[in-house]
Symmetry: C2
Subunit: 521 residues, 2 copies
């Protein structure tokens, strides 16, 4: 990768966008992704991590993984030397790990149409993306309702306008006003047209995955193929959820195969509600997660050695009274710290966490739970953070106010991950000498010189006196977020796009949509 691809992005779009960005986070430097400067936090040492790796190998060896409804997958495994019994595939100890470590890239570049927004997945990097998948949306004005393509576009625009989100995400909400078998066109187009950040592709059918790849070829044109390698550049990262426990189904395998063969990234994610798809214990949930991920990641490497992958872990606990998933509780944080360490040992990029919560609205529950997930996400070292912004109600709803609030928290994570400045200016000994005992630092030269960039500035936190806060209407954070969200949408300006490319994309969609009837299956 060239220096240019990794260089901090120079903001584009002129004075108006620059001013907006300045208002939103004046002290923050916009970067295309975060490169951490603080250590990882790990809860388990060598012994504990080895034990879970050993147990996952036991699961793969004794119990195996079901590849359901996909003869080709079974053939691939048979040829690779796995023990295929019906749809059940069992593995010699260490087989999957060896395939992954021999072939999978430790990190990869996901290219954006604006090269200044390219992201590097893996290593010490962290990439924030919006929440994924909610069929409902919620705001303070209209409450909760089904998502539409207008909502979808709004969230793409909000992510584009958020300086601390690096990725446009995928299904930012389900546009249920469009037919199931054609909505992927409008979703993918929205990411391409209303943002220039990297994005995710459709996984609900192999043909929809292929449509995503075909549209990406139109969008990237001559840049789609890397001239030096002759291979497609990775311009899509897509979410392949396992059908946990220990099962991959035909739909996900179909999408996986399309992306893998086109050198597009597969984010293979065991989806574990501990107590339902795995044992109720942290170690048990980690074991199932690792076994599934090893099989899924190795499968990608067998299909197309060297294809980019991310090791995903979505883990939550359950209310054992009601069976409802719970979020922001301590057990999933322990899973997160453990799985991130295990992914590092495996040597592949890792995805987990986000601003997860069970709350129905952007209240204190939502915030506690989201922070209780996001901080572990960042300290553990997740490389790709789906669900960074907007998630409500266990993922059933995308919140407008929650989105803006979470994006602010993502800004704080930038500062945290940057760590402690130990330069002479950071040490500030001269300032301490200048001020001395009993005086204050507000006016000293060092404070004046560092004033602008001294602290992360939240556009949403109210730090004023109670009197001023009351004079301004006694608003809670959600109400302030509502106003900022509307302002962001009002002031949104789309990134420039070559009109010929735009026309070609629209033409492609129009032709494809006309070629088969609408369906909601």
């Amino acid at each position: 990768m060239s220096d240019q691809q990794l260089s901090p992005r120079a903001r584009r779009g002129g004075a108006r966008e620059a001013k907006r960005a300045a208002r939103l986070a004046s002290a923050a430097v916009s970067v295309p992704f975060i490169t951490r400067n603080i250590p990882y936090y790990e809860v388990l040492g060598e012994e504990g991590l080895s034990l879970i790796e050993h147990n996952a190998d036991t699961v793969l060896e004794e119990i195996g993984i079901v590849f359901h409804g996909d003869e080709e997958a079974l053939k691939v495994w048979r040829e690779a030397g796995a023990d295929v019994d019906g749809e059940r595939v069992r593995y010699p100890r260490g087989m999957c790990r060896a395939i992954i470590q021999k072939n999978a890239p430790k990190e990869y570049v996901q290219y954006a149409r604006n090269p200044q927004r390219n992201v590097v997945m893996g290593g010490k990097n962290t990439v924030f993306a919006p929440a994924y998948g909610p069929p409902f949306v919620r705001d303070l004005d209209k409450g909760r309702r089904y998502g539409t393509i207008e909502d979808f576009r709004n969230f793409v625009k909000l992510a584009y306008a958020s300086p601390h989100l690096h990725h446009s995400g995928g299904t930012v909400c389900e546009p249920v006003d469009l037919p199931v078998n054609k909505r992927h066109f409008d979703m993918v187009y929205a990411h391409m047209r209303y943002s220039d950040k990297p994005f995710m592709g459709s996984v609900t059918h192999p043909l929809r995955a292929q449509d995503t790849v075909d549209m990406a070829k139109v969008l990237f044109g001559d840049n789609y193929i890397d001239a030096t390698t002759g291979r497609p550049r990775t311009v899509i990262t897509s979410l392949i959820n396992a059908n946990s426990p220990l099962t991959f189904d035909a739909t996900m395998l179909g999408a996986l195969k399309v992306y893998a063969r086109n050198n597009q990234a597969c984010l293979v994610t065991p989806f574990i509600l501990a107590g339902a798809m795995a044992p109720v214990t942290v170690a048990g949930a980690c074991t199932v997660t690792l076994a599934e991920a090893l099989a899924g990641l190795a499968f990608v490497q067998l299909l197309n050695p060297g294809a980019p992958v991310i090791f995903g872990s979505f883990a939550s606990s359950l209310s054992m009274q009601s069976g409802a998933p719970t979020f922001g509780t301590p057990e999933p944080a322990l899973v997160l710290y453990t799985m991130a360490a295990i992914a590092r040992r495996l040597g592949v990029p890792f995805r987990s966490g986000g601003a997860l919560c069970a709350s129905k609205l952007a209240d204190a529950q939502a915030a506690y739970e989201s922070a209780n997930t996001m901080i572990p996400t960042c300290l553990a070292g997740a490389n790709f953070v789906l669900h960074t912004a907007g998630w409500l109600e266990g993922g059933l709803a995308m919140g407008y106010e929650k989105f803006v609030m979470d994006a602010d928290q993502a800004g704080m994570m930038h500062t945290m991950l940057a760590g402690v400045d130990l330069s002479e200016n950071g040490q500030a000994l001269d300032a301490i000498r200048e001020v001395g005992p009993g005086k204050h630092f507000l006016g000293c030269a060092h404070t004046q010189a560092n004033f602008e960039a001294a602290f992360y500035r939240s556009p949403l936190a109210d730090n004023n006196s109670v009197e001023q806060w009351e004079a301004e209407g006694s608003q809670d954070m959600a109400q302030r977020a509502n106003a900022i969200c509307k302002k962001m949408l009002r002031e949104y300006e789309p990134p420039p796009i070559d009109p010929a490319v735009d026309e070609a994309l629209i033409d492609f969609m129009t032709r494809r949509k006309a070629s088969f009837p609408d369906s909601n299956v």
Copy 2:
């Protein structure tokens, strides 16, 4: 210390209290304090920590610390070999550290009147206490108003009834309905009478510190003196804030001297709003904090070698626009991780953090900011956590609902700090074998056996479907907390106390109150 003092507490108070505790946190085991089973998180390595230690020594050597209005303190320093110039005291490099490391205990027991609630400060232990100091209180019913002794008693009762708070704290709110020079009697009495957890003493005047000690002697009776050592047991921990930067004032020094000489614990805390009392940088704030703490802790050891101390750090950032303190931002978290590591290297118990926030009410801002402080507090390894519950509005208000919400989060921290169970039951391989691919774990034997204790259960989080949540009134977390708070106060039953001791305490207060006129100075 005996095993008995450290053993997990067997809950007392009979079936009713047991049932209430069970309702509040049925899966949690009540313990008198937490002993962590996960690693510390440190942001700086040896090089960075040494640099800050070196710089703090430079500050002590070149700039020094002012001991204001206390001739005795200056005499103590002169005799110890420091360079005393007026009220300014300068130190040879390493002098304060050497005094502390030679004399200060690495950990100490703070005795409670109920020995099952004794806490061990230091080491791998964490002790949670309520917020300290707010002149105002707030709830959903009556909004914000000045605190009264009734509010004070309510918060003592709430802390007593909260299974995840280990300590009764000190000024849980200011009872402004009582005269300034006598309110300490009623405050200390409330902790003694309405709780049996350990508590803090008055620091606003040396005589009030002495009154606290005298009341403790009445309360503990024959148990006040440790028969084996002949010294007073440590039954009070009190908050001695530095007058940052680099200054200790006569009031705090006066209280410090009373407690230190009576073998009661001094929590010496530099109070740093970075940008005001220290440079705007993390490393600068850490340097000032360490320099002040070294001087304060060494002073205690000179007064009474071996007297228990805690190294405190209260650090926050400022809004550089308005000068208002800000909370839950990333910079104070970096200070926290750094100072905890430095305190461990010094070898004394450490206090920092809590559920800090600038929000005026128990909304999402309050929760994000509180979690952004509490998680670092726990991961860093703070031993004593003042402000664990109730803090609002930068410490100006104590919130009833916020208290209950924060106490729930404290419960989550218990589970997090317990770490990952790697026992055979924790590994749960047999459960994975039993269930196999594509099935669910809800009914399996392992889940049934671990059902009760599987996950931390929040009494406040709503994890139900949106339909059920709406049917129950669409309440946010603060509204649910309001109901739980009222229920806790309604069902509160005081811990038993020897009527003769109670009478003696009341008699002591009555005589002392009558011996001098009321004053609000």
